[in-house]
C-alpha cells in the first residue's frame, strides 16, 4: 500500500486512519448507507411501488439469502467456503414438501434436517479430518446431494404440487404487509450467530483457526472438531433457508436454491468478511444480503434485460469489493 498506515509508528493516528479502522472493524454503518442509497434510487426509479408492501417483499426475499450468506460467513472465518449450501437447501425444501402428506410436517422437517446434518457431517469430516480443501469438498458434496435429490424425485411419489401450508405461511406471509413471518425464524438465528461469534468460545475458535491455524493448534485448539461442527451448523442453516425458500416460491424442485449459492458468497464478501479467514462478522453479511436483494430488484424495476442485469450485478460486486479492499487495506 502506498498510503501511510501508521498504526504502530504514529502516536496519535490521523483522522483518516481512525476512519479506516472504524470501517474495517464496523463495516455495517457504511454498508447501511449504501443500502439507503439503493432505497432512494428505487424510490426515484419507481415511486409507485414504494410502500409497506414493498418493504415486506424486500425483507422476505433478503432473509433466505442472509441465512445462506451466514453459512458462508462462518466458513469463510476459518478460511473455508461452503458451496454445498444450494444443494442442501434444495433437498430439504424438496423433502419437506414431498414427505409432508404422508408423515406430517414435524416428521418431515425432522427427516429433512437429519439429511442435512448427515451431509454437513460428511463435509466436515472431509474438511476437518481428511483435510480436503473446503472448496472442492463442498463442491463434490453438492454433486452427491443434488444427485440424491434427483434420484428421490423419481422414486418418491409426489401427492401435492405446492409446499405444506405451514411452510408457505412462514416463507411468504407477512404481518400487516410489512413484517414477514420468516423474521420469526431469522431473528433468533441471526442473534445466535452474532452473539455466538462475539461471545462464545466456539466463535473465538472460528476466528482463531482462520487467522492463524498454527498458532491456534499450538494454543490447544482442535481444528478438526471445530471444522466438523462448523459444517454441520452450516448445513443446518442451509436447511432452514431451504424451508424458507420453498415457502417463498411455493415450489419444491430439486434445484430450488441453486441460484442462491454465488450471491451468498458475494453477500458475505460485501459484508466485510475476508475470504482469507479470521476477519468479519455476521452483521455486515446481513446488510450485504439486503444490498444484493435491493440491487436485484432495482435492476428488475428498471426493466433491463436479464443479460444487462447480470453484467451490472457483477460489475457492482467487483466495484464494492474493490472500494472495500482500498479503504480497509492493511499495509
Amino acid at each position: 500500500m502506498s498510503e501511510t498506515v501508521g498504526t504502530d509508528r504514529a502516536p496519535a493516528p490521523g483522522a483518516v486512519t481512525v476512519m479506516r479502522r472504524q470501517l474495517r472493524d464496523r463495516p455495517v454503518i457504511p454498508l447501511l448507507g449504501l443500502a439507503a442509497a439503493l432505497v432512494v434510487a428505487f424510490a426515484i426509479a419507481s415511486p409507485k411501488s414504494m410502500g409497506p408492501e414493498w418493504v415486506g417483499i424486500q425483507l422476505r426475499a433478503a432473509i433466505p439469502l442472509a441465512i445462506l450468506a451466514g453459512c458462508q460467513t462462518l466458513a469463510m472465518l476459518t478460511g473455508g467456503i461452503d458451496l454445498s449450501v444450494g444443494a442442501v437447501a434444495s433437498i430439504v425444501g424438496f423433502l419437506v414438501a414431498t414427505l409432508e402428506p404422508n408423515i406430517g410436517t414435524p416428521a418431515a422437517l425432522l427427516f429433512a434436517f437429519s439429511a442435512a446434518v448427515l451431509a454437513g457431517l460428511i463435509t466436515g469430516i472431509g474438511v476437518g479430518v481428511f483435510r480436503v480443501h473446503p472448496l472442492i469438498m463442498t463442491l463434490a458434496m453438492s454433486l452427491v446431494v443434488f444427485g440424491t435429490a434427483n434420484y428421490l424425485q423419481n422414486v418418491l411419489v409426489k401427492i401435492q404440487t405446492g409446499v405444506p401450508d405451514l411452510v408457505r405461511s412462514i416463507g411468504s406471509d407477512t404481518l400487516y404487509a410489512v413484517l414477514p413471518y420468516s423474521l420469526v425464524v431469522f431473528v433468533p438465528v441471526a442473534a445466535v450467530i452474532i452473539f455466538g461469534l462475539r461471545r462464545s468460545g466456539y466463535g473465538r475458535l472460528l476466528f482463531a483457526i482462520g487467522d492463524n491455524p498454527i498458532a491456534a493448534r499450538l494454543s490447544g485448539a482442535r481444528a478438526w472438531q471445530v471444522l466438523v461442527v462448523l459444517y454441520v451448523i452450516s448445513a443446518l442453516l442451509a436447511a432452514v433457508a431451504g424451508v424458507l425458500i420453498s415457502g417463498l416460491t411455493n415450489v419444491a424442485s430439486v434445484n430450488l436454491a441453486d441460484n442462491y449459492v454465488l450471491p451468498s458468497v458475494a453477500a458475505a464478501v460485501i459484508g466485510g468478511t475476508s475470504i482469507m479467514g479470521g476477519r468479519g462478522g455476521y452483521g455486515g453479511t446481513i446488510v450485504g444480503a439486503l444490498i444484493l436483494t435491493l440491487l436485484g430488484s432495482l435492476l428488475g424495476t428498471l426493466g433491463l434485460p436479464e443479460a444487462t442485469r447480470q453484467v451490472v450485478f457483477g460489475s457492482i460486486v467487483v466495484a464494492v469489493a474493490a472500494v472495500y479492499a482500498r479503504v480497509t487495506a492493511e499495509s
Partner: protein, 334 residues
C-alpha cells in the same frame, strides 16, 4: 508434473535411480494413468463392442472440458482460481458461432483468431482486476462470472449461429487409423504448442514461483502482479479454445453453459494440482478429465440410474480426494 530436472553441477544419477526418482515425483499422475487403464479394461469387459467409434465419441465429448481444465490448472498453479471459466467459454462460443453464420470458410479463420484474442483479453481483464484492486481472486472471478455470462446473453439470446465446416471437421473422425481420434490429437497438439515451451521458459517458472510463495518470488525479482495477469490471460486463451471446441462439436453457440467451472476445478485437483498453488501440471488434469468422462460412460453402460450416477461421481471424487490428501499428509509428516 513436478520438477525432474537435476540441478547443475550434480552428477547424474544412474538410470535406474533416475527412473525411480521420477516415478516417485510423479506418483500421483502415474496412479491416475494406471486407474485410467483399469477403467478402459473394465469398460471393454462390460461392453465388448466398445471400440474405435466409442473412443472417438469419448475424445470428442471430453475436449471442451479438457481445455477448461488446462485453463483452470494454469490459474491455480499461479496461486489463483478462476470461477468464470464457464462464462468465458460461453462468451467465446457464442461470439464464434454468431460471427461464422453465413460467412465463408476463409472468414472463419479470422473469426477463430479473433476469438482467441478475445479469450486472452477476457483473461487479461480478470487478472488485471485481481492485481489492481487487490480483491481476492475468488471474489473477482465470481463477479466476472456474471459479467461474462451477461455478455454472452447479449451476443446471442438463444442458441443459434453456426460453425464453419473445416472447424467441425477438425474434431470429427479419426486420423490415419481409426483408433486415433482427431480431437485427441488436436488436444495434444494445442497443449504441446502452448504448455511445453511455457513450462521450460522463465515465465513458466515465474508462474510456479508466485503460486508456491508470493513473497519469496517477489524477493527473487519476479514481477508478481504481471506474472499473475499473464497466467489469467493464458487461462482465458484456453477457455477460448474450449469455447471454440464447443462451437465445433455442437455446430451452434449456446449462451448458457453449466458445470464447466466446477468440473474444471474438480479435474485440476484430481489431476494433482494443489489448490494452494505452485504444484502440478496440465497433463494430470487432462487424464483426470478422461477418467471423469469414461466413468460417466461406464456408469451409464452398467445401467445405473443417471441420477445415482451423479451421486457416484461425487462420492468417487470425495474418496479419491480424501485418499490423496491422506497420502500427501503422511508424506509431509515424515
Amino acid at each position: 508434473m513436478s520438477a525432474t530436472t537435476t540441478p547443475a553441477g550434480v552428477t547424474r544419477p544412474r538410470p535406474l535411480e533416475a527412473i525411480t526418482a521420477w516415478a516417485r515425483d510423479n506418483s500421483w499422475s502415474l496412479g491416475l494413468v494406471g486407474f485410467l487403464a483399469l477403467l478402459f479394461v473394465f469398460t471393454k469387459l462390460i461392453q465388448p463392442s466398445y471400440g474405435a467409434t466409442a473412443l472417438q465419441g469419448l475424445a470428442n465429448s471430453m475436449l471442451p472440458l479438457a481445455l477448461a481444465a488446462v485453463a483452470q490448472s494454469i490459474v491455480i498453479i499461479a496461486g489463483g482460481i478462476d470461477l468464470s471459466v464457464a462464462s468465458m467459454m460461453a462468451l467465446t462460443n457464442v461470439v464464434a458461432a454468431s460471427q461464422m453464420r453465413g460467412q465463408g470458410e476463409e472468414y472463419a479463420v479470422l473469426v477463430v483468431i479473433g476469438v482467441l484474442v478475445l479469450g486472452l483479453v477476457l483473461g487479461l481483464v480478470n487478472g488485471s482486476l485481481i492485481v489492481f484492486t487487490r480483491v481476492p481472486d475468488i471474489v473477482v472471478t465470481l463477479a466476472m462470472l456474471y459479467v461474462w455470462a451477461g455478455c454472452a446473453l447479449l451476443v446471442l439470446a438463444a442458441p443459434g449461429g453456426s460453425a464453419a465446416v473445416w472447424l467441425k471437421d477438425l474434431v470429427k473422425g479419426s486420423l490415419l487409423i481409426e483408433w486415433i481420434p482427431k480431437s485427441a490429437v488436436l488436444l495434444i497438439v494445442i497443449v504441446a504448442i502452448v504448455w511445453i515451451p511455457l513450462r521450460r521458459s522463465r515465465l513458466g517458472l515465474s508462474i510456479y514461483a508466485i503460486g508456491s510463495n508470493r513473497l519469496a518470488a517477489f524477493r527473487s525479482g519476479v514481477a508478481v502482479g504481471r506474472t499473475k495477469i499473464v497466467a489469467y490471460a493464458l487461462g482465458g486463451l484456453f477457455a477460448a479454445l474450449g469455447g471454440l471446441a464447443l462451437t465445433a462439436s455442437m455446430g451452434v453457440g449456446r449462451p448458457m453453459l453449466g458445470g464447466y467451472t466446477l468440473m474444471s476445478i474438480a479435474a485440476a485437483v484430481l489431476g494433482g494440482v494443489s489448490l494452494a498453488g505452485g504444484r502440478g501440471g496440465v497433463f494430470g488434469p487432462i487424464v483426470a478429465v478422461m477418467i471423469l468422462s469414461l466413468l460417466q460412460t461406464d456408469i451409464t453402460l452398467v445401467g445405473v440410474n443417471p441420477n445415482l450416477a451423479t451421486v457416484l461421481q461425487g462420492a468417487i471424487l470425495i474418496g479419491v480426494l480424501m485418499l490423496g490428501s491422506i497420502t500427501q499428509f503422511r508424506r509431509g509428516r515424515r
